[in-house]
Symmetry: C2
Amino acid sequence: MIEIMSAKLIEQIVKSRGKRRKLDRNRYLFHQGDPVKTLYVVEEGLIELTRHQSDGSAIVLQRAGNLTVLAEASAYAEIYHCDAIVQLPSIVFQLPMKIFLERIRTDEGFSTFWTSHLAREVQSARYRSEILSRKTVADRLDGWLAWKGNGLPAKGQWKAVAGQIGVSPEALYRELASRRTK
Amino acid sequence: MIEIMSAKLIEQIVKSRGKRRKLDRNRYLFHQGDPVKTLYVVEEGLIELTRHQSDGSAIVLQRAGNLTVLAEASAYAEIYHCDAIVQLPSIVFQLPMKIFLERIRTDEGFSTFWTSHLAREVQSARYRSEILSRKTVADRLDGWLAWKGNGLPAKGQWKAVAGQIGVSPEALYRELASRRTK
DNA sequence: TTGCAGACATGATTTCTATCATGTTTGATT
DNA sequence: AATCAAACATGATAGAAATCATGTCTGCAA
């Protein structure tokens, strides 16, 4: 039910009066420190939200692709606190933040879409944290399966799952193999 | 800046016309499947939001204590999808969900507190995920330090940090010791 | 058909951390 | 001042997964 709200939010945003842009790989969509003027929805491709630290290392805070809202929290900030780096050729929909915020203020239905979208993101990010705090591959896989409910991922997706639950593909294959024999 | 919003949100909620309840350890505040009628803020103690799976194992989705909103996503659901279990003697503030939602609809300032609170929770949960996806204690500690910005935690807090970044206290002590000598 | 890239798969080794054990320091309480 | 609990700290060991290596299978394209 909440998922539906997320879908509707994005549908509404993408229907708004905004622009669509194609972005080449490796370019920056915005930089840390830039003033926030725009809300972005990644329609295709992959854009990573990355925070660079003084020691040179980086933290990836969001991997946005396939109809996801980029950097939700930027809606409440003056400047970006992260860089957005295009990792795959992408298409973004962009909307002036002023218009977006104005719509949240005045359009009650839209506002509900937004807040329930945020609530759902909180939920799923916490779920992922919980899975990642588990120590063994078996435990993490259990958590992942419970999360997605029914259904193993299609063939060709296991490697991606390994990434999501923070284990090496090899370790995941081994765990799957040991379950098959049992 | 966003953190301030979270504090203000809770301040506003706790000032509302609602009740305060003391809860003994090990009791349930609500069960999976119960209809959502109330919003809870944990003022003291510790309440865990837990989802039980068909196979008997459980996932902890939120550890709520010390002025935190419990189960934000329940505001957009008919029934709870988790159990709330009181892990330490706690005090909760409770507000009828109807009143809360009505206030969000009608009080623009309050609504902004709520949405920016949610946005911040998304941010911090994602950050935690990123830290937990790192493999070594050193990497996780780096992530934690970058997250909290400047300043090590006070003495007496290290054990809690170890929990947050998903490593054993011993491993964290060792990492700290090795940094001191370098 | 052949070639190739990627997923799927498994063995061997190395590296790291959890765990257990044990001891020290610190702060609160009496 | 004495006591006690909790955090702080470190050593030793066992266990799990990362990594490296190697190989098979599949689908796609030349």
